[in-house]
Symmetry: C2
Subunit: 228 residues, 2 copies
């Protein structure tokens, strides 16, 4: 009998929809795998856009996991960086898990849980300075594998991340099979997907639109990093 892989994706109020659903789509196609959407309760929660996500498994009954993935979000991500129940849940599972992982600013929640110190990791580009406060070697790569940590860049990196994790767990052929099934042959209509190519004006616009969140995250990062 094949061992069933157990993959958990944390969800929380104000999470970014695609941070969750991009890897969810990839993981839900893995053979012999159960994917959990993990939260404190099973009540549907509102994502950053106001749409509902229904958790499937509570922290209390979560089985031993092979992979845990923490997505980013809006202001809710800052709450998660200070949420003792969430941090302890991550710390407990990290002790027995194959891979501790994140997409986007989820790496800041992992760092706040003390799970990324001394590791190389990725993050949404607008939050790289915040992550660096946690003794993390911040990378600009799309997906970073450093020992048992696998972390992706901002939002849409969740697809690349999902395929990289798939290759680690099930081999390259399974990852390629899923890539073809999902027709992942990207063709961005514009060349504006990273701060290096988007130009100063667009970068400033995005930073301004997210300034409240970036500042709140920076403040939380400074406070928490002192005590780890």
């Amino acid at each position: 009998m094949m061992t069933q892989l157990q993959i958990g994706l944390l969800v929380y109020p104000d999470v970014t929809q695609l941070d969750v659903t991009a890897p969810l789509q990839v993981f839900s196609m893995l053979p012999n795998t159960t994917v959990h959407l993990l939260w404190k309760t099973l009540e549907p929660i509102k994502d950053m856009g106001g749409f509902l996500i229904s958790p499937t498994t509570t922290f209390d009954i979560c089985p031993q996991l092979d992979v845990i993935c923490v997505p980013g979000g809006g202001m809710g991500q800052v709450d998660m960086m200070r949420d003792i129940q969430v941090l302890e849940f991550l710390q407990t599972h990290a002790q027995t898990i194959k891979y501790v992982t994140s997409v986007c600013t989820g790496s800041l929640i992992l760092a706040a849980a003390g799970l990324l110190q001394g590791y190389k990791a990725a993050c949404h580009w607008a939050f790289r300075e915040n992550l660096a406060l946690f003794d993390v070697e911040v990378s600009t790569e799309r997906v970073v594998i450093d020992r048992t940590r696998i972390t992706g860049g901002g939002v849409t990196a969740g697809i690349d991340f999902g395929l990289v994790v798939t290759a680690q767990l099930c081999g390259e052929n399974t990852a390629k099979f899923i890539q073809l099934l999902l027709e992942y042959n990207p063709a961005p209509p514009f060349n504006a997907g990273s701060p290096e190519v988007a130009g100063e004006e667009l970068v400033a616009m995005v930073q301004k639109s997210g300034s409240e969140l970036i500042a709140a995250s920076l403040e939380a990062s400074k406070q928490i990093a002192q005590h780890i």
Copy 2:
């Protein structure tokens, strides 16, 4: 006062999660826009992976839309091709809408509603022959704009599609802003995202894994195309 844009994404039992959530993530970031997840009732429905999606707006109370988007799915997509209530809903809104759109095999549902005949359109690569039965000029492009129809390729094309629709509705600068915010700077870990590059063996594996669905869709396409 700015006019509020109204964008509707059809959801249905057995829909493919990312076909919905990739464009949803893009559209939920548009200025002055309301995004609806449309279905017959507000009861949560199960996607192809068994995860819940909560509709936000029923057909009955759906406002006049600027864009409607039909995603693909598992066997549920074949049911939608024959669902009179769904087809009539699409036909009614198509009369007054700016753009009738789809991601993945959603184009087969549009075609079954008689809304793609004589147009050029995209589809998931494994279903191109099916779409061609409907007097559609099937394209291998990632996203196709033909007059008031905008259609995307398989699953992950929903991101490219979302940005193309954004540029049409709100201009290139808004699309680039969202691309940067979502850090859409894709880096597929393998070169296996289209049948042209994946090689015969992988193509055959995916076709085999989806053979039941592809056959059921072909059968429905043959039957329905005769009567349009």
